[in-house]
């Protein structure tokens, strides 16, 4: 499903070069549930962004659905982001001008679909994260944990085959965190969604099939 070969990511600013990732080789099979762990600043988000086609690697190849990403054309990349991948950002990135429901409809907005169906799917996704009473709120009117759950609902609404979640429980209390974890396990087991999840919580990493550890931009053996 996902394959990274010798991937390197270097951030170049005016003076400093930051090697965020280097020599990453990684394969995630379809239907797998993988946790990514590592200290702050080690490159976890960078890795997830690369897998999610949100950024390009400095070198190395990334394969998605059996084809190197670099060989996809713009339109195909958009379609992959839209239909194959669902992304939960570490900092949520909800659109402040849109209501919760419109935020969750976002991935469906770029598909051929009736307004009613879009609405129904988004409502269902919000019900699953326990936010059916906040459909008409704006993100700024929600707590951090609620915003995080909206971000999760948005990633799920499009029923993607790959769900990439960057610390999806970072802002939730342990009970809510467990509920969200249950949701992810459910998606993985019942719908066969491939999941890559960044977490700092060993307890949650234990629920994944396996854990990838990163230290200072490099994979380390467990």
């Amino acid at each position: 499903m996902i394959r990274l070969a010798n991937v390197e990511k270097v951030y170049r600013t005016d003076r400093i070069e930051t090697v965020a990732l280097s020599q990453i080789d990684l394969t995630v099979a379809a239907g797998e549930f993988v946790a990514v762990m590592g200290p702050s600043g080690c490159g976890k988000s960078t890795l997830l962004n690369l897998i999610g086609l949100l950024d390009a690697p400095s070198s190395g190849t990334i394969e998605l659905a059996g084809k190197p990403v670099a060989s996809y054309r713009d339109r195909e990349v958009s379609r992959l982001r839209n239909q194959t991948i669902g992304f939960v950002f570490q900092t949520f990135h909800l659109i402040p001008d849109l209501r919760v429901l419109d935020n969750v409809e976002l991935p469906l907005l770029y598909r051929k679909m009736s307004g009613a169906e879009r609405r129904a799917r988004a409502t269902r996704a919000l019900e699953r994260v326990g936010l059916s009473s906040r459909l008409q709120h704006f993100p700024s009117q929600l707590s951090g944990g609620q915003q995080q759950r909206v971000a999760i609902a948005r990633a799920m609404a499009g029923e993607p085959r790959i769900l990439l979640a960057d610390e999806p429980t970072g802002n939730l209390d342990s009970q809510m965190g467990d509920e969200v974890m249950g949701l992810l396990e459910d998606l993985n087991q019942k719908e066969g969604t491939t999941i890559v999840m960044v977490t700092h919580d060993q307890r949650q990493a234990d629920k994944a099939h396996r854990t990838i550890r990163i230290f200072d931009g490099r994979q380390v053996a467990c």
């Binding site: 962004n49 999610g52 086609l53 949100l54 950024d55 390009a56 713009d74 339109r75 958009s78 379609r79 982001r81 839209n82 239909q83 992304f87 950002f89 990135h93 909800l94 659109i95 402040p96 001008d97 849109l98 209501r99 419109d102 976002l106 991935p107 907005l109 770029y110 598909r111 051929k112 307004g115 879009r118 704006f138 948005r154 499009g158």
Partner: protein, 414 residues
């Protein structure tokens, strides 16, 4: 698809109240300025009754006489027009009117200030006034030097009130004229047809004006069509060259040219009497510059507002891209938002314009002003507004939409 995008565009505009209010106000105000300016220009230069043959009318406004040590510019003299502007090839009718002069009328113990013109009978044929009462004076009255007058509606009301006016005397500057007709008011911005009172030129006590080369008269030439203009101008110029100037000591040359209203105005404003050719492009240039000044600045502001607002929304573009928006649909979204905004601003301007124009008309700033909404000016303005709206939406959106989503998310707008 378009419906949901439209709904979201309206939602965003509603959400960003300050930005939306400022933009709407800016767009509407800019368009209003354009509408008022267009109405003013239209009122000065456009084709309105009574100037129904505007497109084939040439005017002789000023004459200039030049000698070695002397030069003088003045409106044309009656004698010059009478002797040299008649029967020009390609001209159907020639009318003569004096420039307007301030005069006073004492009636019923009250003093009225009014404007007066002295004309010939053809004046009423070249210009098609709307006669509310009576009729214009004709050749018979002009030849006899009859003391008769045509009033405009407002003057008739000021002097006679509700009482009948036809056949009664109106006193102007100590002379009594019998009222023959009453015409509808014409805006003061219309140099040729505007006046309060018209009398035959021949009603003057002193007949010396009949010989003058320079004086205070204008000639109106109604050409067969605009194609005859060059021929008319050439013939008139060659007639002027043959004038014997021995009666005008010190002067060797006399210059005058039948021109359109726009060209004559340009010539007067820029004092380009020396050149035989008219220089209307100067007036076009100045008007263009004014437009640029008054409309360019608000346009730049609005474009700037739109661009910085979109750059500020870089993270939103990143998110949308991350969830599959193509660069094209992102550009479409922001263009749509701007077009909706511009059209709303246009609607606002269209609603406010009649009120503003009516307010100017009633303010008395311009006597008898008849500023009207010129839909062509409005359409042009709205078209330009939409153009800049599209541009200022598409360009920054395109720049951001081509970034990697992560870069846009971090607000890397620069």
């Amino acid at each position: 698809m378009l419906k949901s995008h439209l709904r979201l565009a309206l939602a965003v505009l509603q959400r960003r109240k300050v930005f939306t209010a400022i933009s709407l106000f800016g767009i509407a105000l800019t368009l209003l300025v354009l509408i008022v300016a267009g109405a003013l220009l239209d009122n000065v230069f456009g084709a309105f009754p009574p100037e129904v043959h505007h497109d084939r009318t040439l005017l002789i406004f000023n004459v200039r006489m030049e000698g070695k040590n002397a030069q003088s510019t003045s409106p044309a003299g009656f004698g010059l027009l009478d002797r040299y502007a008649r029967d020009l090839p390609g001209v159907e009718r020639m009318a003569i009117t004096s420039t307007m002069r301030e005069a006073f009328s004492y009636q019923g113990g009250q003093k009225h200030r009014l404007y007066m013109k002295r004309t010939d009978a053809e004046y009423w044929r070249v210009l098609q006034f709307e006669f509310l009462e009576g009729a214009p004076f004709a050749e018979a009255e002009v030849e006899a030097g009859s003391r008769v007058a045509v009033l405009n509606r407002s003057t008739r009301e000021r002097i006679f009130g509700d009482a009948p006016a036809l056949g009664r005397d109106v006193e102007v500057d100590g002379v009594n004229y019998r009222v023959m007709g009453v015409v509808a008011d014409v805006s003061m911005l219309r140099a040729l047809p505007f006046s309060d009172v018209w009398v035959p030129h021949s009603a003057a006590k002193d007949q010396a004006y009949r010989k003058e080369l320079g004086g205070d008269f204008w000639g109106l030439l109604l050409a067969r069509d605009a194609a005859a203009f060059p021929q008319i101008q050439a013939e008139f110029r060659s007639r002027l060259q043959r004038i014997d100037l021995s009666a005008e000591p010190g002067f060797e040359r006399i210059l005058a040219l039948p021109e359109t209203l726009f060209a004559s105005t340009s010539r007067m404003l820029f004092d380009t009497h020396d050149e035989a050719e008219s220089r209307p492009e100067r007036l076009v240039g100045v008007l263009g510059l004014l437009t640029l000044l008054f409309l360019g600045l608000p346009t730049i502001n609005l474009v700037n507002l739109s661009v910085s607002r979109i750059l500020e929304r870089a993270p939103e573009i990143g998110v949308r891209k991350a969830f599959g928006a193509s660069a094209l649909s992102l550009v479409g979204q922001f263009v749509l938002e701007n077009v909706v905004l511009t059209l709303l601003g246009g609607a606002l301007a269209l609603l406010a314009a009649p009120l503003v124009l009516a307010a100017i008309n009633h303010s008395g700033l311009i006597p008898y002003a008849q500023l009207g909404l010129n839909l062509r000016t409005f359409g042009l303005g709205l078209g330009l507004a939409v153009f800049f709206g599209v541009l200022s939406g598409a360009y920054p959106a395109w720049r951001l939409a081509r970034l990697h989503p992560v870069q846009a998310l971090k607000g890397a707008a620069r």
